[in-house]
Symmetry: C2
């Protein structure tokens, strides 16, 4: 028996269409797909299987655990693990044919004996060109390669990658610096070595940013790849929550914790069964977030609570508020697209998607 | 084989100790435990089993689904479901002996025929005394009871409850209004009807707020029940994340997305394998959040990203940063207690705990 619960309807076809849009935009050789963090909360295995059918061959995850789960579903694709290889993980990487993105000198040293011994122990090398987060530093890498010219071959490096820090802002000077650093790297590692710089935003930067392999994540899931302008991506996720109670206020009344907002007598309110425990960010409180009942817009009122949200449905026809009615929190309407919901919570769409919790039932279409 | 992953160590004994502290503070007859949202992210079944052994007999959840899961673990306790009963759920409530907190006129009407037919179909009645979120409104309830004096008996109501909107602020005028409303309710429903008003904060309000049953949630999990003053609760959760890379900066460099923060040449940075996809809130970026390696404090630098956080570990002895080193994000030290982590992300401890994600392995002690 299926009870009334919040649901997240994931349009896998739209994710595939977004991947095809990105592939058409990208001038390099291969367009991968980033499916880390459970495909940004939408379901790694379901998403990856659909993309593989559409022709995607390289998938990116963050952790070894994610790589192992994905390998169980897709035996033949290339799986790149961004966190690289930690001590004691070497055997698991080999066993599941996962490609570590070697992210530090220690990781490179760790992988070298594995790659020397096992011909299939292919790796990628992460060089840091701006973020200071992960990857060999430029001077470090340059000096090392000068001292050990066989380093890349010994580690069976099949890809040199870096990560854009400011790709959604085309005019940010960091972008050009990173492109230039990649060109220096190309001179160092040779024309034959595949290179990867672009995330979603990078694909919409000029062609000299593109290099060989693109690794889009956010845009697959409907997030705009660039700040401003029109979002070329389809929306892929719809989050609905059941209305568990409605009321017409007997008197003007403050709503919710802290009594932060007051509605007039006669206002009609709906309480829906989802909250910040399900990932509807508490920062959305009092910042103009909205939901929809059918085509009717309803403002969020009061603070976001753990398991419930309140909406002013005074403008919604009463016939739509009966038993089993659902309110849409995220979907393809003005004010509730993923970037809108993020803006209302003063964050980015990535955080909105990745934190939708396990009480929200996933439906795939 | 166990790989290096982020871990959440849950001290179940400390949760039990907090429940005992709350029970000692509460002057009413019974202290329940709120274990909704997977016991605020810490593990509903593990927490509830321990509390039941310590003598807790009533547990509160938000949804029918949570109630069914808890019933499978604890056959003999009383389980109260805050969202009440939705259409089509009546049979499941009976089958699993769950007590719906009837939250609207529609829900009361829905339950009445069930309770009339089945002697064990006990319910609670939620009356709204301030939040405007859930529960019958006072005037509505008063008029209804006058018209149908047998209403409570017909619905087999065993508890009349309401929820404090501003309990952490003892001086907030809403508190006294809610207490007075409860006293009016007591006059209406009779002295013999058990009543419940107090959440964690309410337990630390004067005794005339206490009534019969307390329903603490947040304080069980180490969150201060009242704003300001000393927190009488033990910390119960420790979140550690593996360091996957360290570096000494070759030059002064901006760290992370958007290049929002710059560290000097020579600074030592550690990158740890957890991020907002695991519930470390992105709003903690640039607001003074810290972590610890052993007893050494390390400031968070740059923006929180999906799968990684960067910390300035210049002040941490290098010997502590070797392979397998963990950095503590949440625990029992200054600056990383649950309320500290919440303050650094401009939210409340409830959201910090409930959003810790599935990639973070739970360990129970």
């Amino acid at each position: 028996m299926q009870f009334l619960t919040p649901t997240l309807t994931v349009n896998v076809s739209a994710i595939v269409a977004n991947w095809q849009t990105l592939r058409a935009q990208f001038s390099g050789r291969e367009t991968a797909a980033v499916v880390k963090a459970d495909a940004y909360g939408l379901g790694m295995v379901e998403v990856a299987i659909a993309l593989e059918k559409a022709g995607c061959h390289t998938f990116c995850v963050a952790t070894l655990g994610e790589g192992i789960s994905l390998r169980a579903a897709l035996p033949d694709v290339r799986i790149l693990v961004f966190h690289g290889v930690q001590e004691g993980e070497e055997f698991a990487f080999r066993q599941h044919r996962l490609v570590p993105a070697l992210a530090s000198r220690v990781q490179v040293e760790r992988w070298k004996p594995v790659a020397v011994e096992f011909p299939h122990a292919v790796s990628a090398l992460h060089v840091d060109t701006a973020m200071a987060r992960l990857g060999l530093q430029m001077d470090e890498f340059t000096a090392w390669l000068a001292a050990e010219p066989e380093l890349l071959k010994q580690c069976r490096v099949g890809l040199v990658m870096s990560h854009l820090a400011c790709a959604p802002e085309p005019a940010h000077p960091s972008n050009a610096q990173q492109r230039d650093a990649m060109q220096q790297l190309r001179a160092l590692v040779g024309e034959d070595m595949p290179m990867s710089l672009c995330n979603s935003g990078g694909i919409y930067l000029p062609r000299d940013f593109h290099f060989d392999l693109a690794r889009p994540g956010c845009a697959l899931y409907g997030i705009a790849p660039q700040d401003g302008g029109t979002n070329p991506m389809q929306q892929v996720a719809q989050w609905d929550a059941p209305i568990i109670s409605t009321r017409v206020l007997e008197r003007a009344q403050a709503v919710g914790y802290g009594a932060t907002q007051t509605l007039p007598k006669g206002a009609r309110m709906a309480t829906v069964a989802t909250g910040y425990a399900d990932g509807y960010l508490r920062h959305a409180s009092g910042r103009g977030a909205v939901g929809y009942v059918g085509e009717y817009r309803a403002p969020l009122v009061g603070r976001v609570t753990m398991d419930m949200l309140c909406f002013d449905v005074s403008g919604v026809p009463e016939a739509l508020l009966g038993d089993g009615a659902m309110l849409t929190l995220l979907g393809d309407r003005d004010g509730i697209r993923v970037d809108d919901v993020a803006a209302a919570a003063d964050t980015i769409g990535y955080e909105v998607l990745t934190r939708i919790g396990p009480r929200v039932r996933r439906i795939y279409i």
